[in-house]
Amino acid sequence: MDISAPPNKRARKLPNLDEDITGIRAILSDEFDEEIALIKAHSCELETKQQLQAVIQELSQKLPHFQHLKRVQDRSVLICPSSEIGVSQSLEQHLEQFAFSEHVLRALCQGVRVVEVPERMPRLRVQYEKTLKHWPCKFHPNHYSESLRNGSNFSSAQRTFHKRIGQLLVRLSRDINDNRPVGICVDPRQPSIVSIAGTTEVCRPHEHCCMMLVDFVARSQEGGATETEVTFTEDSKEDTTLRGIPKAYYDYLMNNEDYKDLTFGAEKSRECKEVNADQGADNLAKFGPYLCTGYDIYLLQEPCLMCSMALVHSRAKRVFFVKNSDNGALATRFQLHSVRELNHHYEVFQFTTKEDEDLT
């Protein structure tokens, strides 16, 4: 590759996302993505390794810091975060209050240095490797997190399907919905399209595409609250329902050769909540449809905070989106899925487009 050539400043054509969705990238919560901050810590250097046992034993009782770090590196031992030591205090003065035995106290005050150590335990190998140059750290590799990071969590067939639905969002917005936002809900088990929703001209200020989508999913479960002039598809089969899909979208897809092989319809709500007791099955398989449990949500636009939380309440399994939004709450302004206190968490993915690649 010729790196001396000037960047290609071709005229920006209107983005033709239809053909341009190139990949999928997981948006991991901050603890996976961020570089691990360093904090200052006091360490000492023992004269011999024979001292280690006694020193570590007393340290772990009296100064139980650094659970995420290895306390010893060769003959160096971590004592405490430097911030614990008072401004006008020496290390020795600080340690006096902990009543160390005399020989340990003497050992702790030898070869004292201030070192930088990682503030928390790394979650991914890349983070772990970066921490190594500072101080040895504990690390529990997680295969699934690593696969999300490197993209191997999807099989190539799955990846192709997700990208197809991503491209479908772009097409439906362009061909049916005047370039306004569109969302699709998919039951990933078949996979089958459960619902489609798009914002319309008459939408009220808070009726975002995502809010309509969860309401249309409710329609597939004989619920739904929003009054709408949209006509929905009539059912033609016994065991599944098309009532979550507006007729305009359904007809478009039925009459389009490219989408002949897509499956449509949601499992109907189960009368009594009989348990399909397959050990290890997820809640959707076990109990049948309930809100968006087990369902995947695909959105043209990154959802705002209201919509992102609506998807938490609805227990969506995964959220995929194409374009960032100025008020987006999964990547742009906030990462709602990073908030640990919430009672449900979904995974978040963004489609990468040809444009993104041109920028990098």
């Binding site: 009220r204 200020p205 808070h206 809010m211 969860v214 309401d215 409710a218 479960q221 004989e222 619920g223 739904g224 609250a225 709500s269 909540k273 348990v275 809640n283 076990k286 109990f287 309930y290 809100l291 449990t293 705002c304 905070l305 209201m306 919509c307 939380m309 609506a310 938490v312 309440h313 609805s314 227990r315 008020n327 709450a329 302004r333 906030f334 709602l336 908030v339 206190e341 919430l342 009672n343």
Partner: protein, 160 residues
């Protein structure tokens, strides 16, 4: 304004009697209740039908019917709700620009003030006062969660 909390509690009890999570809300404008509602999640099978949204929709319907400017009306509305609005409702209320929010008990699971600073994300801050008749609001919730949510799958019930 705190006097209107009784009205919100009436809505919360009504929701409880209908088998919904007992949260109630009234919107107050010019010293009068202009919208009222309780949770309607289970009946619609839609987890976003919180009491606040029932009221928001009522106001928007009024605005449409009477051709009133919604933006202006919301800016003069005080929201009185028995439980701290969740992140979703709080985001909606901040975006619509209501005048203030008064709530009963805190929502430490997904409160729009306690768990996430919604105002910072939305980029607009409004006055929020909590703790008004909090014990009564909390007692309603506790009573409800002792029983089963009839709409939730059995496994979700067990956790509660």
């Amino acid at each position: 304004m705190a006097a209107f909390m009784e009205e919100a509690l009436v809505e919360a009890r009504r929701a409880r009697d209908a088998g919904e999570v007992p949260v109630g809300c009234v919107f107050v404008h010019g010293g009068k209740v202009v919208a009222r509602g309780g949770n309607e999640v289970n009946v619609h099978r839609n987890a976003t039908r919180h009491a606040e949204f029932i009221c928001i929709d009522a106001i928007l319907a009024t605005c449409r019917e009477k051709r009133l400017p919604a933006r202006q009306l919301f800016s003069e509305i005080t929201v009185v709700v028995t439980v701290e609005p969740c992140i979703m409702c709080s985001a909606a209320l901040h975006t619509l620009g209501v005048k203030e929010i008064i709530y009963g008990c805190e929502n430490d699971r997904f409160g729009g003030k306690t768990v996430v600073d919604v105002a910072a994300v939305v980029g607009h801050r409004i006055e929020i006062t909590g703790g008004v008749r909090a014990d009564e609001a909390m007692a309603l919730l506790k009573e409800f969660y002792k029983g089963d949510n009839p709409a939730a799958p059995p496994q979700a019930k067990k956790k509660k």
